[in-house]
Symmetry: C2
Subunit: 191 residues, 2 copies
């Protein structure tokens, strides 16, 4: 129960820090790739009848890997923190600190989440890439997985789930198809 109505105060929405959920939300090909080997994501499309808006309004923090961030910059759609959304870029090699409109951090997944959970806020979008998502999955820190499945086999690319961790059971919370055959599957971690 994330948004609670407090009796007698129907307008009041309580965000409890411990309730911030980490959501790995990503578009993937039928064969489970988030991008081609070279980082290209030309196969992704946004169906006319699908909107990211409700999801974007549910988060206030984005966690992205350094490679994902740098590829975005190269492609001209670089991530930047806004008053609504804080962008954290995880890197083991880059110096920590705020620059170029984002915050670089060298914290481990567990340490970063521990820090974030001390502050109240909305949900946190684990944007990827696969290696970063994998570190969070390995540490079992992912509360939800949202997959936009595109109707194409790429044959090769960067996997959404590079793997090497034990079983993780999830519960399907949404299954819906959209224009041009995109399927949206949402899951929450069964704990």
């Amino acid at each position: 129960m994330r948004n609670r109505r407090i009796l007698g105060k129907p307008q009041y929405i309580a965000y409890h820090a411990s309730m911030r959920r980490l959501i790995y939300s990503v578009g993937i090909s039928l064969d489970g790739y988030i991008a081609r080997k070279n980082g290209e994501i030309d196969f992704l499309f946004m169906p006319k009848n699908f909107s990211m808006q409700p999801f974007l309004e549910s988060i206030d923090t984005i966690i992205a890997g350094r490679k994902t961030y740098e590829h975005g910059v190269k492609m001209g759609f670089g991530l930047r923190s806004t008053p609504q959304t804080r962008v954290l870029v995880c890197s083991r090699s880059a110096k920590s600190g705020v620059r170029d409109g984002v915050e670089f951090t060298r914290l481990s997944p567990a340490a970063l989440l521990r820090k974030l959970s001390k502050t109240e806020g909305k949900n946190i979008w684990l944007m990827g890439g696969g290696d970063l998502a994998n570190a969070y999955l390995k540490a079992d820190l992912v509360d939800e997985i949202h997959l936009g499945v595109l109707p194409v086999l790429l044959g090769s690319g960067l996997p959404a789930f590079p793997g090497k961790f034990p079983d993780r059971q999830f519960i399907l919370t949404e299954c819906k198809s959209y224009d041009r055959g995109m399927v949206n599957l949402n899951y929450k971690r069964e704990r």
Copy 2:
């Protein structure tokens, strides 16, 4: 149009040899594995409100790889040809011919399908495993993909799509969720 009503003969269903469709139908984990590394498929389940029957009635031939076949035998649910369904086991090493209730073949995917398409019949189930499916995908011989997606990350295993082939566009034909969070996704090749 596979089952055609001939005008004036509504009971007559024509199966044209060239209309036999090759369907890769397989259960997969959220991270795209058809089995664990050791071949175990303990994570698969059959939702109470889902039935394989309509699919099984739409096929009369099963193509399986040797390892998939042998694993089934070891697990005690070995494949066998029946009067309704012919089982073909593909192997580059085993001797061709009928034995143990199945037909071993060393034919390439293209050659086997050419042979099958010369006879009239129902659709053909490409059962897997991943390596065999991949040979058919590489040769672009797969007409449909049916995925039963289970709500679990395995972290490692045998991939449904081991890859190394060019893009293949598909069209979503079914998207439905079943008990315990199994999602059935059917696709047909866009040609």
